[in-house]
Symmetry: C2
Subunit: 157 residues, 2 copies
Protein backbone atom coordinates (compact mmCIF):
# COMPACT_ATOMS: atom_id res chain seq x y z
CA UNK A 1 0.00 0.00 0.00
CA UNK A 2 1.35 3.40 -1.00
CA UNK A 3 0.13 6.64 0.52
CA UNK A 4 -2.13 7.38 -2.46
CA UNK A 5 -4.18 4.26 -1.75
CA UNK A 6 -5.08 5.23 1.80
CA UNK A 7 -8.75 4.70 2.37
CA UNK A 8 -10.82 6.82 4.69
CA UNK A 9 -10.48 4.38 7.57
CA UNK A 10 -10.17 6.05 10.99
CA UNK A 11 -6.56 6.70 12.11
CA UNK A 12 -7.03 4.34 15.07
CA UNK A 13 -7.75 1.45 12.66
CA UNK A 14 -4.67 2.29 10.59
CA UNK A 15 -2.48 2.35 13.70
CA UNK A 16 -4.02 -0.90 14.96
CA UNK A 17 -3.27 -2.53 11.60
CA UNK A 18 0.32 -1.25 11.84
CA UNK A 19 0.63 -2.59 15.38
CA UNK A 20 -0.51 -6.08 14.38
CA UNK A 21 2.01 -6.08 11.52
CA UNK A 22 4.81 -4.83 13.75
CA UNK A 23 4.10 -7.72 16.12
CA UNK A 24 3.87 -10.27 13.31
CA UNK A 25 7.12 -9.01 11.76
CA UNK A 26 9.10 -9.09 15.00
CA UNK A 27 7.73 -12.54 15.94
CA UNK A 28 8.49 -13.95 12.49
CA UNK A 29 12.01 -12.54 12.39
CA UNK A 30 12.70 -13.62 15.99
CA UNK A 31 11.59 -17.18 15.21
CA UNK A 32 14.01 -17.27 12.28
CA UNK A 33 16.81 -15.85 14.40
CA UNK A 34 16.22 -18.58 17.00
CA UNK A 35 16.50 -21.24 14.28
CA UNK A 36 19.70 -19.75 12.88
CA UNK A 37 21.32 -19.39 16.32
CA UNK A 38 20.48 -22.97 17.20
CA UNK A 39 21.62 -24.48 13.92
CA UNK A 40 24.71 -22.38 13.25
CA UNK A 41 25.98 -21.74 16.79
CA UNK A 42 24.14 -24.18 19.05
CA UNK A 43 22.93 -21.22 21.08
CA UNK A 44 19.71 -19.45 22.00
CA UNK A 45 18.33 -15.94 21.69
CA UNK A 46 18.55 -15.22 25.46
CA UNK A 47 22.20 -16.37 25.44
CA UNK A 48 22.86 -14.15 22.42
CA UNK A 49 21.13 -11.22 24.16
CA UNK A 50 23.24 -11.69 27.30
CA UNK A 51 26.45 -11.79 25.28
CA UNK A 52 25.30 -8.74 23.26
CA UNK A 53 24.70 -6.78 26.48
CA UNK A 54 28.12 -7.81 27.83
CA UNK A 55 29.79 -6.89 24.55
CA UNK A 56 28.46 -3.34 24.99
CA UNK A 57 29.84 -3.25 28.56
CA UNK A 58 33.35 -4.65 28.37
CA UNK A 59 34.05 -3.82 32.02
CA UNK A 60 31.26 -6.16 33.05
CA UNK A 61 27.72 -5.88 34.34
CA UNK A 62 26.20 -6.80 37.68
CA UNK A 63 23.59 -9.54 37.51
CA UNK A 64 20.90 -7.00 38.40
CA UNK A 65 21.99 -4.74 35.55
CA UNK A 66 22.01 -7.67 33.14
CA UNK A 67 18.54 -8.59 34.28
CA UNK A 68 17.36 -5.04 33.69
CA UNK A 69 18.88 -4.95 30.22
CA UNK A 70 17.13 -8.15 29.28
CA UNK A 71 13.87 -7.52 31.09
CA UNK A 72 13.71 -11.16 32.04
CA UNK A 73 13.62 -12.57 35.53
CA UNK A 74 16.80 -12.69 37.56
CA UNK A 75 16.39 -16.46 37.73
CA UNK A 76 16.58 -16.82 33.99
CA UNK A 77 19.66 -14.65 33.77
CA UNK A 78 21.37 -16.71 36.46
CA UNK A 79 20.83 -19.96 34.58
CA UNK A 80 21.98 -18.45 31.30
CA UNK A 81 25.10 -16.96 32.89
CA UNK A 82 25.93 -20.25 34.65
CA UNK A 83 25.96 -22.01 31.28
CA UNK A 84 28.02 -19.26 29.63
CA UNK A 85 30.56 -19.55 32.47
CA UNK A 86 30.73 -23.35 31.98
CA UNK A 87 31.31 -22.75 28.27
CA UNK A 88 34.18 -20.36 29.05
CA UNK A 89 32.51 -17.38 27.36
CA UNK A 90 31.87 -15.41 30.53
CA UNK A 91 33.65 -15.01 33.88
CA UNK A 92 32.52 -13.69 37.23
CA UNK A 93 34.42 -10.66 38.49
CA UNK A 94 34.33 -8.90 41.88
CA UNK A 95 32.56 -5.56 42.14
CA UNK A 96 34.73 -2.76 43.51
CA UNK A 97 33.27 -1.49 46.76
CA UNK A 98 30.69 -4.23 47.11
CA UNK A 99 32.11 -7.48 48.49
CA UNK A 100 28.84 -9.36 48.30
CA UNK A 101 27.96 -8.46 44.71
CA UNK A 102 29.47 -10.06 41.65
CA UNK A 103 29.51 -8.97 38.08
CA UNK A 104 30.18 -10.88 34.88
CA UNK A 105 32.07 -10.02 31.75
CA UNK A 106 32.97 -11.68 28.48
CA UNK A 107 36.21 -13.64 28.31
CA UNK A 108 38.48 -13.28 25.29
CA UNK A 109 36.96 -16.52 23.99
CA UNK A 110 33.49 -15.08 24.61
CA UNK A 111 34.35 -11.87 22.75
CA UNK A 112 35.59 -13.86 19.77
CA UNK A 113 32.54 -16.12 19.76
CA UNK A 114 30.18 -13.15 20.05
CA UNK A 115 31.95 -11.33 17.21
CA UNK A 116 31.22 -14.34 14.97
CA UNK A 117 27.61 -14.53 16.13
CA UNK A 118 27.05 -10.77 15.73
CA UNK A 119 28.43 -10.79 12.17
CA UNK A 120 26.17 -13.72 11.27
CA UNK A 121 23.22 -12.01 12.99
CA UNK A 122 23.72 -8.86 10.92
CA UNK A 123 23.71 -10.98 7.78
CA UNK A 124 20.53 -12.84 8.78
CA UNK A 125 18.72 -9.58 9.52
CA UNK A 126 19.94 -8.14 6.22
CA UNK A 127 18.53 -11.16 4.39
CA UNK A 128 15.29 -11.22 6.34
CA UNK A 129 14.62 -7.52 5.76
CA UNK A 130 15.94 -7.55 2.19
CA UNK A 131 12.40 -6.87 0.97
CA UNK A 132 12.84 -3.33 2.35
CA UNK A 133 15.12 -1.10 0.32
CA UNK A 134 17.85 0.68 2.32
CA UNK A 135 15.89 3.92 1.79
CA UNK A 136 12.64 2.39 3.07
CA UNK A 137 14.50 0.81 6.00
CA UNK A 138 16.17 4.13 6.88
CA UNK A 139 12.87 5.97 6.70
CA UNK A 140 11.12 3.41 8.90
CA UNK A 141 14.02 3.37 11.38
CA UNK A 142 13.88 7.17 11.52
CA UNK A 143 10.12 7.22 12.10
CA UNK A 144 10.43 4.65 14.91
CA UNK A 145 13.32 6.57 16.49
CA UNK A 146 11.20 9.72 16.58
CA UNK A 147 8.29 7.77 18.02
CA UNK A 148 10.49 6.21 20.72
CA UNK A 149 12.04 9.59 21.56
CA UNK A 150 8.58 11.11 21.98
CA UNK A 151 7.39 8.22 24.12
CA UNK A 152 10.46 8.27 26.31
CA UNK A 153 10.23 12.06 26.61
CA UNK A 154 6.56 11.75 27.58
CA UNK A 155 7.29 9.00 30.12
CA UNK A 156 10.02 11.08 31.73
CA UNK A 157 7.73 14.04 32.39
CA UNK B 1 15.90 10.86 9.97
CA UNK B 2 14.37 11.62 6.61
CA UNK B 3 15.48 9.95 3.38
CA UNK B 4 17.65 12.90 2.38
CA UNK B 5 19.83 12.40 5.45
CA UNK B 6 20.77 8.82 4.63
CA UNK B 7 24.45 8.34 5.09
CA UNK B 8 26.50 5.92 3.06
CA UNK B 9 26.30 3.22 5.72
CA UNK B 10 26.04 -0.32 4.30
CA UNK B 11 22.44 -1.55 3.81
CA UNK B 12 23.04 -4.32 6.36
CA UNK B 13 23.74 -1.71 9.06
CA UNK B 14 20.60 0.24 8.15
CA UNK B 15 18.49 -2.92 8.36
CA UNK B 16 20.11 -3.91 11.67
CA UNK B 17 19.32 -0.46 13.06
CA UNK B 18 15.73 -0.86 11.88
CA UNK B 19 15.52 -4.31 13.48
CA UNK B 20 16.71 -3.04 16.86
CA UNK B 21 14.13 -0.24 16.72
CA UNK B 22 11.35 -2.61 15.68
CA UNK B 23 12.18 -4.75 18.71
CA UNK B 24 12.39 -1.77 21.04
CA UNK B 25 9.08 -0.39 19.76
CA UNK B 26 7.18 -3.65 20.10
CA UNK B 27 8.63 -4.31 23.57
CA UNK B 28 7.83 -0.78 24.76
CA UNK B 29 4.27 -0.87 23.43
CA UNK B 30 3.70 -4.39 24.77
CA UNK B 31 4.86 -3.34 28.24
CA UNK B 32 2.38 -0.46 28.19
CA UNK B 33 -0.41 -2.74 26.97
CA UNK B 34 0.30 -5.14 29.85
CA UNK B 35 0.01 -2.25 32.33
CA UNK B 36 -3.26 -1.02 30.81
CA UNK B 37 -4.79 -4.52 30.73
CA UNK B 38 -3.87 -5.12 34.34
CA UNK B 39 -5.05 -1.77 35.64
CA UNK B 40 -8.20 -1.32 33.57
CA UNK B 41 -9.40 -4.92 33.21
CA UNK B 42 -7.45 -6.98 35.75
CA UNK B 43 -6.25 -9.18 32.91
CA UNK B 44 -3.05 -10.15 31.14
CA UNK B 45 -1.75 -10.06 27.59
CA UNK B 46 -1.91 -13.87 27.14
CA UNK B 47 -5.54 -13.84 28.36
CA UNK B 48 -6.30 -10.99 25.95
CA UNK B 49 -4.61 -12.90 23.12
CA UNK B 50 -6.63 -16.05 23.85
CA UNK B 51 -9.87 -14.08 23.89
CA UNK B 52 -8.85 -12.27 20.68
CA UNK B 53 -8.22 -15.60 18.93
CA UNK B 54 -11.58 -16.94 20.13
CA UNK B 55 -13.35 -13.77 19.03
CA UNK B 56 -12.11 -14.45 15.50
CA UNK B 57 -13.40 -18.05 15.68
CA UNK B 58 -16.88 -17.83 17.15
CA UNK B 59 -17.54 -21.55 16.60
CA UNK B 60 -14.65 -22.33 18.92
CA UNK B 61 -11.08 -23.57 18.65
CA UNK B 62 -9.48 -26.82 19.76
CA UNK B 63 -6.83 -26.40 22.42
CA UNK B 64 -4.17 -27.42 19.88
CA UNK B 65 -5.37 -24.73 17.46
CA UNK B 66 -5.37 -22.14 20.21
CA UNK B 67 -1.86 -23.14 21.14
CA UNK B 68 -0.77 -22.78 17.51
CA UNK B 69 -2.36 -19.35 17.23
CA UNK B 70 -0.53 -18.14 20.33
CA UNK B 71 2.75 -19.93 19.75
CA UNK B 72 2.99 -20.65 23.44
CA UNK B 73 3.19 -24.05 25.04
CA UNK B 74 0.03 -26.11 25.38
CA UNK B 75 0.52 -26.04 29.14
CA UNK B 76 0.30 -22.27 29.27
CA UNK B 77 -2.83 -22.22 27.16
CA UNK B 78 -4.45 -24.79 29.44
CA UNK B 79 -3.88 -22.68 32.54
CA UNK B 80 -5.14 -19.54 30.84
CA UNK B 81 -8.25 -21.29 29.54
CA UNK B 82 -8.98 -22.83 32.96
CA UNK B 83 -9.04 -19.35 34.47
CA UNK B 84 -11.19 -17.93 31.68
CA UNK B 85 -13.66 -20.80 32.21
CA UNK B 86 -13.77 -20.06 35.96
CA UNK B 87 -14.45 -16.41 35.14
CA UNK B 88 -17.34 -17.40 32.87
CA UNK B 89 -15.77 -15.90 29.74
CA UNK B 90 -15.11 -19.19 27.98
CA UNK B 91 -16.83 -22.60 27.87
CA UNK B 92 -15.64 -26.00 26.75
CA UNK B 93 -17.60 -27.51 23.87
CA UNK B 94 -17.48 -31.01 22.36
CA UNK B 95 -15.78 -31.48 18.99
CA UNK B 96 -18.00 -33.13 16.37
CA UNK B 97 -16.50 -36.45 15.26
CA UNK B 98 -13.84 -36.50 17.99
CA UNK B 99 -15.14 -37.68 21.35
CA UNK B 100 -11.82 -37.26 23.13
CA UNK B 101 -11.07 -33.73 21.95
CA UNK B 102 -12.61 -30.60 23.36
CA UNK B 103 -12.74 -27.11 22.04
CA UNK B 104 -13.42 -23.81 23.72
CA UNK B 105 -15.40 -20.78 22.70
CA UNK B 106 -16.34 -17.41 24.16
CA UNK B 107 -19.54 -17.19 26.16
CA UNK B 108 -21.88 -14.25 25.66
CA UNK B 109 -20.32 -12.69 28.75
CA UNK B 110 -16.86 -13.32 27.27
CA UNK B 111 -17.84 -11.71 23.97
CA UNK B 112 -19.09 -8.62 25.78
CA UNK B 113 -15.98 -8.40 27.95
CA UNK B 114 -13.68 -8.85 24.97
CA UNK B 115 -15.56 -6.18 23.00
CA UNK B 116 -14.83 -3.72 25.81
CA UNK B 117 -11.18 -4.79 26.01
CA UNK B 118 -10.71 -4.63 22.23
CA UNK B 119 -12.18 -1.13 22.03
CA UNK B 120 -9.88 0.04 24.83
CA UNK B 121 -6.91 -1.74 23.18
CA UNK B 122 -7.53 0.09 19.91
CA UNK B 123 -7.56 3.38 21.81
CA UNK B 124 -4.31 2.58 23.66
CA UNK B 125 -2.55 1.66 20.43
CA UNK B 126 -3.88 4.82 18.79
CA UNK B 127 -2.45 6.88 21.64
CA UNK B 128 0.85 5.01 21.76
CA UNK B 129 1.42 5.35 18.03
CA UNK B 130 0.01 8.88 17.83
CA UNK B 131 3.51 10.12 16.98
CA UNK B 132 3.04 8.49 13.57
CA UNK B 133 0.66 10.32 11.24
CA UNK B 134 -2.05 8.15 9.68
CA UNK B 135 -0.17 8.48 6.36
CA UNK B 136 3.13 7.36 7.90
CA UNK B 137 1.38 4.52 9.73
CA UNK B 138 -0.36 3.38 6.52
CA UNK B 139 2.90 3.50 4.59
CA UNK B 140 4.77 1.51 7.26
CA UNK B 141 1.92 -1.01 7.55
CA UNK B 142 1.99 -1.42 3.76
CA UNK B 143 5.76 -1.92 3.65
CA UNK B 144 5.56 -4.54 6.43
CA UNK B 145 2.66 -6.31 4.69
CA UNK B 146 4.71 -6.59 1.49
CA UNK B 147 7.70 -7.83 3.48
CA UNK B 148 5.60 -10.46 5.29
CA UNK B 149 4.00 -11.57 2.01
CA UNK B 150 7.42 -12.02 0.43
CA UNK B 151 8.73 -13.91 3.43
CA UNK B 152 5.70 -16.19 3.60
CA UNK B 153 5.85 -16.74 -0.17
CA UNK B 154 9.54 -17.62 0.11
CA UNK B 155 8.92 -19.98 3.05
CA UNK B 156 6.16 -21.78 1.14
CA UNK B 157 8.41 -22.59 -1.81
Amino acid sequence: MTPDTITDEPPSKTRLRLWLRLLRTTRTVEAELRDHLRRDFGTTLPRFDVMAALSRHRDGLKMSQLSGVLRVSNGNVTGIVDRLVEDGFVIRVPVAGDRRASAVRLTRKGEEEFARQAAAHEGWIDAQLAGLSPEAAAEMAGALARLLDQKEGADAQ
